[in-house]
């Protein structure tokens, strides 16, 4: 079905999660289409498996078929900043100079569609709006972590997930508290405290640790205006 030389084997395992498993080539499922007309392959990744690493040559675009991905950068002492989470349908892996400036890892079991063709004018026109959306998201996130306090950051995070889920008020957190903290520029203790405070105030209801019901949307919205 697919040539074996197309398999990408993760070269690196992070020190934050479980050992990365070998990605396997999946049957070609057909979920949210981006450029399905373009030749591509679909690769499966286990939790915490590296999809690409900082410094590697970049020659592909990636689209989440199912699962979730975190894109992040590290300081030498281990401090980590997650710049984005990606879920089904999202395209990521844009690089300007042929090299990856970030790490990308699967958060949970995930399937990633990989496009390895060079970008022609037609493709550029297709992915430009996707790249611009990512740019705006990143710049809006700058406001959140640069100028908002802990509660405001968490509220913005929950509302962002909410809106990405087409307004379903029950939000599934695929990522851990550590991931959320590293995305919001906070520690896990602070994230946990804010979740507790929101629960006490009746803004949210927690079913287990990974399921959040947004009860008082207005209160959350009022926090991050």
């Amino acid at each position: 079905m697919l040539a074996s030389n197309a398999v990408q084997v993760p070269s690196r395992t992070t020190n934050r999660g479980a050992p990365a498993a070998q990605p396997r080539i999946a049957a070609c499922i057909a979920p949210p289409a981006f450029a399905a007309s373009q030749p591509h392959q679909v690769v499966l990744y286990s939790p915490n498996a590296e999809i690409y690493g900082q410094g590697e040559r970049a020659a592909a675009l990636y689209q989440v078929v199912f699962g979730a991905v975190r894109v992040y950068r590290l300081l030498s002492d281990g401090r980590r900043q997650i710049s984005a989470f990606h879920v089904a349908g999202d395209v990521f892996g844009f690089e300007a100079d042929g090299h990856h400036h970030f790490f990308a890892e699967a958060i949970c079991n995930s399937a990633i569609r990989i496009y390895r063709q060079p970008i022609g004018a037609d493709v550029a026109r297709e992915i430009l709006p996707v790249a611009l959306t990512a740019l705006i998201r990143a710049q809006e996130h700058l406001l959140v972590i640069g100028r908002q306090n802990a509660a405001e950051r968490v509220a913005a995070f929950l509302l962002d997930l909410f809106e990405r889920q087409d307004g379903l008020p029950q939000v599934e957190l695929v990522m851990s508290r550590t991931d959320i903290g590293d995305y919001l520029g906070l520690t896990i203790e602070t994230v946990s405290r804010v979740f507790s405070k929101f629960r006490e105030k009746g803004y949210i209801r927690l079913q287990g640790v990974r399921t959040v019901n947004l009860v008082k949307l207005e209160a959350l919205r009022a926090l991050c205006v």
Copy 2:
């Protein structure tokens, strides 16, 4: 030379700077070219003049001919996050959905080349790498304000200016301490204190308030690795 209906008049004045002056149409100078083949106009802006505002319809791309621009976003209580500074040659004003999500203002007297044409496939291919560079810059800035302390942020800021100036160790700060603070997610007092500390340690030398000599580049680099 240029049609008078092409003049863009700033509709809004910020509460942070001096009143905005009317932009005037400039003679067509010919500095760093981006898409000089495309039809465009050049508009002059006075310090603190608004180039575009959040919510306005976005139908143009902008390139700094000379001067400097800040792009920022506001919270309702006035907190401000500057997402980028742009200097001669930089292209900005990308928007994904036909609306501006940010404000753009001239910092000093500036000339801006404005391209109003819709983006075709050929143009998309040309500006995609520019947009991707902006995306990477924004995401790298997330690491700075999300995970680095005050000294590390200022060091990263100075080194960024240094590298954008092709390695000239004398850096001219076109922006105020307030702007720097709002770019780094710090208050002006903290920015000022870090400058003083760097001066005491011999990392930098200050000639006046707006001229910085980077004396110990290695020390600054060591701060933000």
